[in-house]
């Protein structure tokens, strides 16, 4: 127990997370004080001081949240590297499943990523408004996110200190591959309908974006994210691995596949999160989503779709057959 703490990647990761948390904790304390005493109708020196402190908190939070994006990528890299130490694991899939904390940690990290993108929107609106119009909302979200990040830090330590390198774990083929005839796809879809739905949902995302159908845009983005996950693991992934039986969301993060998984998962999750949160923040704050944000969503999701499709086309042109 705890042998993985000898890994330099794990040490660097936990140290970085702890360091950022200390910074975040200081920002949190100041933020709570500012949130409770904030009064825009007041023109006292105290309010002026609070406004200066709020700028400090925003700067610290901005830095930390940017770092969190990189740390999530580093977490994936660290977990993947541990597969050489954990018995039975061939990639990050087995390592994540090596104890009961792994799945919760991964879900929590994605939830935090979702919250962070929403915070960036609120921050952008707030700074644009010049008079800190959305400061209260932004601070409330920051305090809410702090609780999540606290839970994340606990799970980070609980997860890495409870990985038993001697206890064999299942490899990705056992977790995602052999399902004995059971259909792993949602809604009873088969491969053809899954792919049709994947491309149709992308079109729907673009159309709802062009026509400013905000609620439908959120729904189509969520559904696209959900279907794209299955499409990547159960169809496009087989073309990345060039093996019809290899179905895994983690192996594509490895060197053998040119780390393409980072580009794919990053573009999918960040693209969807920016899209969904752009719509949520525009409903919440009754503001128009910026054209630049919309362009980023189309660019990221378009890149994801292009990359997935290119793998299939290249395979077909090289070999003359589909997998």
């Amino acid at each position: 127990m705890g042998e993985v703490l000898l890994s330099k990647d794990v040490l660097v990761y936990l140290f970085s997370e702890s360091l950022l948390f200390i910074l975040l904790f200081i920002a949190f304390l100041v933020s709570v004080k500012v949130y409770l005493k904030w009064d825009f109708n007041s023109f006292t020196p105290n309010q002026f001081k609070l406004e200066q402190e709020s700028y400090l908190v925003t700067t610290i939070a901005f830095f930390i949240f940017i770092m969190k994006f990189f740390l999530i990528l580093y977490f994936a890299f660290t977990v993947d590297n541990l597969s050489t130490l954990v018995a039975g694991a061939m990639c990050g899939a087995g390592v994540i499943q090596s104890n009961s904390y792994g799945d919760y940690l991964l879900i929590l990290k994605l939830s935090i990523l979702f919250g962070l993108t929403l915070w960036f929107y609120l921050n952008a609106y707030d700074l644009e408004s010049k008079n800190y119009q959305w400061f209260k909302e932004k601070s409330a979200l920051f305090i809410f996110l702090f609780i999540f990040i606290l839970a994340e830090l606990y799970l980070d330590f609980a997860y890495f200190t409870n990985i038993d390198t001697h206890q064999p774990v299942s490899c990705c083929s056992a977790l995602f591959g052999q399902l004995e005839g059971a259909n792993p796809l949602p809604f009873g879809l088969n491969t053809v309908t899954l792919l049709t739905l994947f491309y149709l949902l992308f079109i729907l995302v673009i159309l709802t974006l062009l026509l400013n159908q905000t609620y439908l845009y959120i729904l189509s983005n969520l559904l696209f994210l959900y279907i794209a996950y299955y499409a990547l693991v159960y169809f496009f992934g087989t073309y990345i691995y060039q093996l019809p039986t290899h179905k895994c969301p983690f192996c594509m993060l490895q060197k053998e596949y040119y780390y393409i998984g980072y580009a794919l998962w990053f573009s999918l999750f960040i693209g969807s999160f920016i899209g969904i949160n752009g719509a949520i923040s525009s409903i919440w704050l009754k503001q128009e989503t910026s054209v630049d944000a919309k362009k980023v969503v189309v660019a990221l999701l378009g890149f994801f779709l292009f990359l997935c499709s290119t793998y299939v086309m290249i395979y077909y042109f090289k070999n003359g057959v589909w997998l």
């Binding site: 005839g181 009873g188 088969n190 309908t193």
Partner: protein, 167 residues
Amino acid sequence: MKKILPLLLIITFMAIVAMIVVSMAKESQPITIVKGNMAMKPIDIKLNATNDTHCKMIIKSIDNSAEVVSPDGRTWFFDDVGCMVLWLEGKKFKDDAKLWVHTIDSKKWIDAKKAYYGVTDHTAMHYGFGAREKESNRTIGLDEMRLRMLRGENLTNPKIRKKLLGE
């Protein structure tokens, strides 16, 4: 273009909803349990479409497959009598359940308590206990088979395998 886009949006949306609804309606999941078997009789297993309740594997062969019927008519299916024994342990209705096995000699469903079991047969999970209707000097009863399963004394144990098969 502005007039076409809303129309395109509606068509795309409708197509997506239709695809999901049709797929869900056509979805065929493997059978895991059948309810309402109050007569507690064996039920025909749909091969390649029924899941073993214990090991979760699809049942591909009728030979040595087994069924457990609880007094309230619920029926569970197994691809190996060893799976049935392991699953049944600790169940409240263990003593009142009706157990069925499909024999390899007479090719029919018989009461598992009246069946005899070989110890070196080829079975789905390689436990080795093949069900038979007729007794021989190389078969054992259900109680002994159950004990051997719970002790791990079956062909999946390398020591037992070497002792019985010399491999």
